[in-house]
C-alpha cells in the first residue's frame, strides 16, 4: 500500500524493515518496528520505547477509532517520539484527526490522498482540544487576548 509522510504529495518508499506484530516483538524484541492491533494495550511498550523507531497502529475500518486513543496515550502519556503510522482504513477525511493525535505517516490507497495530506493542517485554523500537536486551543488564545486587553486598559 502506498505510504505517505507529511511534506510530500507523492508516496514515499515503503522499504524499511517490516514491523513485527506486538506479541512476537515482545518475545525477542528484534528490530525497531512494531505493529499493534487496536485492541493491544500500549502500556506494555513503556519500558521499550527507546528501542522503537516505528509503531504501526491499525484501523480495521476507518470508522473504528480505537487507534486514536492508542496514539494519544503513546505520544502524550508515554512520550513516544518515533514514527507513528496509520494503516488499514485510512481515508483523507480522517487526516485532521490523525495528525492531531500524533500520527506522522499513513498507508492509504485512496486517490488524492497525498494532495489532501498537503492541505490537511490548513483545513482548520482553530482547535478546541489540547493534544500532543501543541497547537494553542481557542480558549488558550482567548485568555492571551484577554490579558493583552487587560494590560492595555491599565
Amino acid at each position: 500500500m502506498p505510504l505517505f509522510r507529511e511534506g510530500a504529495a507523492t508516496p514515499i518508499a515503503n522499504d524499511g524493515p517490516a514491523p513485527v506484530p506486538l506479541a512476537d516483538w515482545l518475545q525477542d524484541r528484534h528490530g525497531a518496528a512494531v505493529a499493534l492491533a487496536n485492541t493491544d494495550d500500549v502500556n506494555c511498550l513503556q519500558p521499550h520505547l527507546a528501542d522503537l523507531s516505528l509503531i504501526v497502529l491499525h484501523f480495521p475500518k476507518f470508522s473504528d477509532g480505537r487507534a486514536y486513543s492508542q496514539a494519544r496515550i503513546l505520544r502524550e502519556r508515554m512520550g513516544y517520539g518515533g514514527e507513528m503510522r496509520a494503516t488499514g482504513g485510512v481515508l483523507q477525511d480522517q487526516l485532521p484527526f490523525l495528525l492531531r493525535c500524533g500520527f506522522d505517516s499513513f498507508e492509504s490507497d485512496q486517490k488524492g490522498f497525498g494532495e489532501a495530506l498537503m492541505r490537511a493542517r490548513t483545513l482548520f485554523s482553530v482547535v478546541y482540544q489540547p493534544t500532543e500537536d501543541g497547537r494553542p486551543t481557542a480558549s488558550q488564545l482567548r485568555l492571551v487576548s484577554r490579558r493583552i486587553m487587560a494590560t492595555a486598559a491599565e
Binding site: 476507518f62 470508522s63 477509532g65 486514536y68 494519544r72 484527526f97 482548520f124 482553530v126 480558549s139
Partner: protein, 557 residues
C-alpha cells in the same frame, strides 16, 4: 458585548464553523462527482447532520442547550423557506430537523446557519452529540447554577474532537443545574447534575450509562461529586475508556450503557478514575479565567423585580377561562419577582407535535423581541419557551401566541404529546407516530377536561429506537409492525423527573392503530374513577397497579 444573554461566537468559533462548511462543500462535491462512494460519504454527511430519509435528505440542526436568539430563529425560518418546505420539526434533543433538504443545497443551507453562529456538526454519527440542558436554565426559580456555561464548554471541547470522532456509537450528554431535573440526565450516556455539597461547594454528580432505545437503562452514579474545574478531564477519561472498551462487534450493544452493564459500574469507575489520574492536572483542567471567559456570556438579562399582582392579569383571568388555564399550565415561576417563564405550546389540537411553520417561527421571534429579551428556548418536550416575561406582559404574550396557534393551555397535559417523526418520514420506522398523536390530541382537545385529567405525559415512538421517549412516558406508545400492519404497544408508569426516573411496563398485547384512542380513553377513565385526592395519573397507577387499567383496555379494544 453583543446583546444576547448567552454564548455568542467569537472569531475563533466563526472561523472553525466556516472552515467546516468549506470542508463539507468539498466532500459533497466529491460525492456528486463520484469520487466518494456512498459508504465513504455517509459518515461524512452524518457528522454534518445530514440523513437520507424516506422522501429526501433531512438536516438536523443543533440548538446548543436549547437556547436561541430571535435572530437565529428568524434565520431558521428563512432557511426552512429557502431550502426546505417552509416548516421544521423541533425534537426532544433540542435540535431542529428539516425534512426536505437537497444534497446539492445542503452546503448552502449550512453556510446560512453559520451566518447566525449555528451549525449541524455532530448532530449524527458516532461522536459526541449536541449537549442538552434544562430549558428553563438561567431563569428557573429552583436553579443552583446555570448549566449552559458547562454545556458550552463541552460543546467546544467535543467539536471535532480528534480522538472521539469515531466512537463505538453516538454519545449524548445532558446537564442540569436544578434539583428538579428537566433535562432527563438519567437517560443519557453521561448526565451531569450540578449540586451543592455540605461544604457549600457546587460540583457535578456524574451519571453514566443511561439511555432509551432498544435496551432502556437508567444511568448510574459514576462520581458523587466532581469539582467543576475537573469536568473536561473527567469527560475525556470517561470517553477514552468507552472508545477503547465499548463494544464494536454489535451495533445494538455499542452504547456505553452496555459497557457499564457488562463490566459493572464499579469496574467502570476504576477504569475511568485510573485514566483520569493521569489527566486531571493536564491542560484540560479549567482555570478560573477560562470558565469566566465563557460564563460572562451567560450574564442574565437586567431584570428588575416587578409587581407580581397585576390588575389586568387578574381581570383577564376572570374574563377568559382559557387564559386562566394557560396561566396554570404554561406559565412557570421565574427567579426574579414579577417575571415568569412562558411555554409556547407546539401542540395545538390535532397538530403534528413539535412542528412549526416558517411564519410561526418568525411570529415567536417577534414575541421574544417584544417581551423576552429576544431569547427563546427549545424544550425536550418539543415546545418553545419564552424565558423572561414580565407578569404584566402576560396578557399581551398570551394574545400574540394565540394568533400563532401556540397558546394552547396544555403543557404537561394529555395533549402535550411527544412524538417522533415515525413512518411518515423515518427510514427506520415500523409504524406512524404523528397521525396517532393527532388523533389522541383531537380526542382530548377540550381544555377543561385536560385540566381535570391533570398531568399526564404521552410519548410515542415509531420504533424501538425510542426517539419519542416512550419508555419514560406515563403512557408510552410504541409502534410495531406485524406482517405489514401497524400495531401499538402501550406501556404505563414511565417517568423522567429526577428521583423518579422509571421505565414503563408493557400493559399487554399491542393494539391496532384505529384502537389507540379508545385504549388511551380507557386508561384515562380508569384513572379518573380510581384516583385519590391530588393524585396524578402516574401516582394512581403506582398505587393500584396495572391490572385495573389492563382489564378496562382489553375489554374495550
Amino acid at each position: 458585548m453583543p446583546d444576547a444573554h448567552f454564548y455568542s461566537y467569537d472569531d475563533f468559533d466563526r472561523r472553525l464553523v466556516a472552515e467546516r462548511v468549506e470542508q463539507f462543500r468539498d466532500q459533497v462535491r466529491r460525492r456528486l462527482a463520484g469520487e466518494l462512494t456512498e459508504d465513504q460519504f455517509k459518515p461524512l454527511r452524518l457528522t454534518n447532520g445530514l440523513y437520507l430519509q424516506l422522501h429526501a435528505y433531512m438536516l438536523r440542526i443543533a440548538i446548543p442547550y436549547g437556547t436561541l436568539s430571535s435572530r437565529q430563529l428568524r434565520k431558521l425560518a428563512e432557511i426552512s423557506r429557502k431550502y426546505d418546505r417552509g416548516y421544521g420539526h423541533f425534537t426532544t434533543r433540542q435540535n431542529l430537523q428539516l425534512h426536505w433538504i437537497k444534497l446539492e443545497q445542503a452546503p448552502d443551507a449550512i453556510a446560512a446557519l453559520a451566518e447566525v453562529d449555528m451549525h449541524s456538526i455532530q448532530t449524527s454519527g458516532n461522536c459526541v452529540r449536541n449537549t442538552t440542558a434544562d430549558h428553563f436554565a438561567g431563569a428557573a426559580a429552583d436553579e443552583i447554577e446555570d448549566p449552559r456555561v458547562w454545556c458550552e464548554i463541552v460543546r467546544q471541547w467535543s467539536t471535532l474532537h480528534p480522538e472521539f470522532s469515531f466512537l463505538p456509537r453516538k454519545f449524548k450528554i445532558a446537564i442540569t443545574g436544578s434539583p428538579n431535573d428537566r433535562a432527563a440526565v438519567r437517560v443519557h450516556d453521561i448526565g451531569l447534575r450540578l449540586w451543592r455539597n455540605d461544604r457549600g461547594e457546587v460540583g457535578f454528580e456524574v451519571i453514566v450509562g443511561g439511555g432509551l432505545g432498544r435496551t432502556p437503562m437508567i444511568g448510574k452514579t459514576l462520581r458523587e461529586f466532581l469539582p467543576k474545574d475537573e469536568m473536561l478531564a473527567y469527560l475525556e477519561a470517561a470517553l477514552r475508556v468507552y472508545n477503547r472498551y465499548g463494544r464494536r462487534d454489535n451495533l445494538f450493544k455499542a452504547r456505553i450503557k452496555i459497557l457499564v452493564h457488562e463490566i459493572g459500574v464499579e469496574k467502570m469507575r476504576e477504569e475511568v478514575e485510573a485514566e483520569y489520574e493521569s489527566m486531571k492536572d493536564s491542560a484540560l483542567k479549567l482555570s478560573p479565567d477560562t470558565i469566566e471567559a465563557i460564563a460572562q456570556h451567560f450574564a442574565p438579562p437586567p431584570l428588575r423585580p416587578k409587581r407580581t399582582l397585576v390588575p389586568e392579569v387578574e381581570a383577564l383571568k376572570l374574563e377568559d377561562r382559557n387564559f386562566a388555564l394557560w396561566l396554570k399550565s404554561n406559565v412557570a415561576p421565574h427567579r426574579v419577582a414579577g417575571h415568569a417563564i412562558v411555554t409556547a405550546s407546539l401542540k395545538p389540537a390535532g397538530a403534528p407535535p413539535g412542528d412549526a411553520s416558517a411564519a410561526q417561527m418568525e411570529g415567536v421571534a417577534d414575541i421574544a423581541d417584544a417581551y423576552s429579551y429576544s431569547e427563546i428556548r427549545v424544550s425536550h418536550e418539543q415546545n418553545l419557551v419564552l424565558p423572561h416575561v414580565a407578569v404584566e406582559d402576560l396578557p399581551a404574550v398570551y394574545r400574540a401566541l394565540d394568533k400563532l396557534g401556540f397558546a394552547e393551555a396544555n403543557i404537561g397535559k394529555i395533549t402535550d404529546i411527544i412524538a417522533c417523526p415515525g413512518l411518515d418520514y423515518c427510514a427506520l420506522a415500523n409504524a406512524r407516530s404523528i397521525p396517532v398523536a393527532q388523533r389522541i390530541s383531537n380526542h382530548f382537545a377540550a381544555l377543561a377536561r385536560q385540566h381535570d385529567i391533570g398531568d399526564l405525559k404521552i410519548k410515542i415512538s415509531g420504533c424501538i429506537n425510542a426517539c419519542g421517549h416512550h419508555h419514560v412516558g406515563h403512557i408510552g406508545i410504541l409502534g410495531v409492525d406485524k406482517n405489514g400492519v401497524e400495531l401499538y404497544q402501550i406501556s404505563l408508569g414511565g417517568d423522567v423527573d429526577f428521583g423518579h426516573t422509571a421505565l414503563g411496563t408493557i400493559l399487554g398485547p399491542a393494539v391496532p392503530a384505529e384502537k389507540v384512542v379508545e385504549a388511551v380513553d380507557a386508561l384515562v377513565t380508569t384513572y379518573l374513577e380510581a384516583r385519590a385526592e391530588g393524585e396524578r395519573f402516574v401516582d394512581t397507577y403506582r398505587r393500584i397497579g396495572a391490572q385495573p387499567f389492563k382489564d378496562r383496555v382489553y375489554a374495550t379494544v
